[in-house]
């Protein structure tokens, strides 16, 4: 029996271990597979297959339900009245409109010759 490093054991302890390991192989019976080995194996394979099939079926149902729900929500949302939008113009237009409103309320900004606030 060779050691892990490929050489013959020199140490008596190494030799004893090599002897024990070689004898262990002899002492371990070679088990003969029973006649039920293959039928049992196929039974286990079938059982696992049916679990996988069931899981796949459940997944398909869940995915189908999720798609149907998404479509339904899409239809419901698109059929509703559009919400009032606060900003319809561009940023510059909104800024200009805001400025015009503020200018209208500010008395300093109103020219004196117009005769207001006299």
């Amino acid at each position: 029996m060779e050691t892990a490093n490929g050489g013959r054991p020199k140490d008596p302890l190494e030799a004893e271990l090599a002897r024990l390991l070689a004898a262990y192989r002899e002492a371990c019976p070679e088990p003969e597979p029973g006649p039920e080995f293959m039928p049992r194996l196929w039974e286990r394979i079938e059982r696992q297959n049916s679990v996988v099939r069931e899981f796949r079926r459940l997944t398909e149902i869940l995915v189908g339900a999720a798609v149907a729900l998404s479509l339904l929500m899409g239809v419901v949302l698109s059929s509703r009245e559009p919400a009032v939008s606060f900003y319809t113009g561009t940023y510059v237009e909104i800024l200009a409109a805001n400025y015009a409103q503020e200018a209208a309320l500010d008395p300093e900004a109103i020219p004196a010759e117009q005769g207001y606030f006299r």
């Binding site: 029996m1 050691t3 892990a4 490093n5 302890l13 190494e14 004893e16 271990l17 090599a18 024990l20 390991l21 070689a22 004898a23 262990y24 192989r25 002899e26 002492a27 371990c28 019976p29 070679e30 088990p31 003969e32 597979p33 029973g34 080995f37 293959m38 049992r40 194996l41 286990r44 394979i45 696992q48």
Partner: protein, 195 residues
């Protein structure tokens, strides 16, 4: 290879007859390896079934037919490792852990020559298993594959997908621990004999 690549290919493609042939070709070898890895004859067939069950559901992941054997050994190692880990968790008593009285009773029961031979083998198995119990499950499996199953470092490299040097280091360390345990047991025996 115990079978040709064509059979592995057919089994990979879902041919049930080919898979059955594959199992029939390898089951004895795999059961033998499992017996030596787990050391419990009563559970060998269950672990063997687990190996072939895993093989059935992972055959499609096999890259090429050439790596079939290392792949099968990897599945065997994993199943044996899972089994040993479960056993450790359960904390079941092994034969090596039996009391001296129980062992003596078993010895007394072994009367005939055949029984004596079986008794000798059982004691040897227990001795080696007790020595191997001094290393982790992974190292125990590695050591058995190398030293008892006789797999080469190249084959182990393919099974473990680890480079040869790393395997050598692990094997060396595992061996050292087993040797230490052997030395301790011999010292204990010598002391016991001296009393």
């Amino acid at each position: 290879m115990l079978v040709d690549f064509e059979l592995v290919k057919r089994a990979r493609e879902g041919d049930h007859a080919a898979f059955t042939q594959l199992v029939q070709a390898y089951r004895k070898r795999i059961l033998g390896t499992i017996a030596r890895l787990i050391g419990r004859p009563e559970d060998v067939e269950d672990v063997g079934q687990e190996v072939f069950l895993r093989l059935h559901f992972s055959l499609d992941q096999l890259r090429t037919e050439e790596v079939f054997e290392p792949w099968l050994y990897r599945l065997t190692v994993n199943a044996a490792y899972d089994y040993l880990r479960r056993q450790r968790r359960r904390g079941e008593a092994r034969m090596a852990d039996l009391s001296e009285q129980q062992v003596m009773l078993a010895d007394a029961a072994a009367g005939s020559r055949v029984q004596q031979e079986e008794q000798r083998r059982r004691q040897l198995r227990e001795t080696v298993q007790a020595l191997l119990a001094n290393v982790s499950e992974q190292d125990r499996i590695l050591l058995i594959l190398k030293e008892i199953e006789g797999l080469s470092l190249k084959e182990l490299e393919k099974i473990y997908r680890v480079n040869e040097n790393a395997l050598k280091v692990r094997l060396f360390r595992a061996r050292q621990r087993v040797l230490k345990a052997l030395a301790a047991s011999q010292t204990g025996t010598a002391r016991g004999g001296g009393n």
